[in-house]
Symmetry: C2
Subunit: 339 residues, 2 copies
Amino acid sequence: MSKRLVSLKDMAKELGVSISTVSRALKNHPDISPEMTARIQQLACEREYSPNPLAMGLLKQQTKMIGVIVPDLVTHFYSSIISGIESIAKQHGYYILISSSNESFEKETESVQNLLNTRVEGLIVCLSQETSSFEHFEPLLRNEIPLVFFDRVCMTDQVSSVVANNVEAARSITCHFYENGCRRIAYIAGPGHLNISKERLDGYWQGLKDCGLKIDPDLLEGCNLSAGEAIKATARLLDSGAKPDAIFGINDTVAFAAMKEIKRRGLQIPDDIALVGFTDEFHATVVDPPLTSITHPTFEMGQEAARLFFRQVENPGAPPVQAILKTRLVIRKSSVRKD
Amino acid sequence: MSKRLVSLKDMAKELGVSISTVSRALKNHPDISPEMTARIQQLACEREYSPNPLAMGLLKQQTKMIGVIVPDLVTHFYSSIISGIESIAKQHGYYILISSSNESFEKETESVQNLLNTRVEGLIVCLSQETSSFEHFEPLLRNEIPLVFFDRVCMTDQVSSVVANNVEAARSITCHFYENGCRRIAYIAGPGHLNISKERLDGYWQGLKDCGLKIDPDLLEGCNLSAGEAIKATARLLDSGAKPDAIFGINDTVAFAAMKEIKRRGLQIPDDIALVGFTDEFHATVVDPPLTSITHPTFEMGQEAARLFFRQVENPGAPPVQAILKTRLVIRKSSVRKD
DNA sequence: TTGAAAGCGCTAACAG
DNA sequence: CTGTTAGCGCTTTCAA
């Protein structure tokens, strides 16, 4: 194990003064004589003293740590959000402890427990796709432990959250398809209990209505947000008699999986099937054809979540709020037909 | 702020016994009578007691935290490695504290400082691309604080590390190009001080030699690993008189940037320019044409780094080792010419 | 079988 | 101006 770093006690002994004198001198307390202060600060500098956060945490009952739970760590969407959270956390002198639920309810529950046991000061969470009951967050509410949800949220009447303007975004996608000549617009949704799934479905329906199109249940498919399932959902759409000429995928994974399956069948994007995703900037430009999509402001989503978190830290009684972030429909080749 | 969780003291008072009795009962210490033990454990369960890691940490001088520094958080490569680290850390009951250097030497130095100040028990690090001096790691060496490097490494005679078999991998790429009829094989390298850059350059040269090709300095370009610079490097290659018919990009970012630039110019991949990257599984299949590449076992790289870390924790005096992970050349369309 | 006390590193109220 | 003391939550001798 590593050698112990220098402590106040060590320095006090070395200088033949008391611990509290050293402590005060390091904070430039006016009570301490300038000479004493100088001597102590000099020594601290030489010895590379840095206060022990464990001791401070124990004393002040705060760890300066935020627990962050995400469905996975390996997609750009979440890592970018985490970056956003971190940037704000750092400004406040906080660290983040990241935990991945791997889209599993059980692991999410475990993570909540573990992080609380670690004495993080609160949690910033995106629900796993399996999560449809929320008792594991009750202890946080009961004890007024700061909690913020982002993207996939719940209990918004009690907990602050950050989401995209899902309804409007999905509506605009549908209309965009229509304007490009598509009439049989399909939607591949996610688990029905997730807000993102419900809201985007709502927007999809509104869009159909706005464009004077009928709702055709055959054009609605669901999947569990894994690439494999998304491919199957796409296959079902293409195999059924539904004959879609456009597909809107609920998120990154689904959109890319759909693209793969469409291409595998030798169908042309956008001419046979137009495709739009719901994703963030990075991926969409790499694929071919470049993917039209709703781009999430992911970094900002993370920042906003962190800001709401600190709002609660600083203002414990504050009522929950929901921040709705504007998204942007970025039109690329996957949805634009030549004529 | 959140209400305090229950402490041993609280429970001791409630039961009218001493703190040490409670402490012992919870550990099933044989000294405590079975009835007492049962009563105490029952109460602990009801009150959802969990030991305060700050107190434990202070007492035992260990935080059960590992600091991890990566060049960025938003690429699949690093997030996947982090997942690997986390999986092993979890098994040991450790948490990881992640810090991103954003490829900046200054931020890396800062992160080392900050993490040490947080009293992590050690560091697992991938150097930023700017890092060419290493004094900021000296304090770790001096104090025998566990340290492991991965991918971009340094001081391998003093510090354990995990790397890919860069030389052999790069050699095999070059030969693969040759077998596909390419004769003017270019390499876009990274900063010369990075081991990954040097080793892959070595392998590239070895491959040229093995195939009986001459080294042509015009076919060697460098960049700083950012997408923008990589595009410029590609442009220089294509604009110069070098006339490459194959490009090997040192990593993900570079390979994708090269692909973009090649396509932008209306050149065909692989027929005009064959392309191979050095990346991990995920991205390569999404792009078009699918990218031939050396796939890193990223998750395993993280796991191995963590294992080496715990080797040091458990065995402080152990000499440094280097784990060299096998990579795999996965051949896809971007490098295979029809005839 | 249980309790008292010291100590991990630090702050702050209280003395001197 | 500086020192003493108590206490944050816990483990671990040492006493009883």
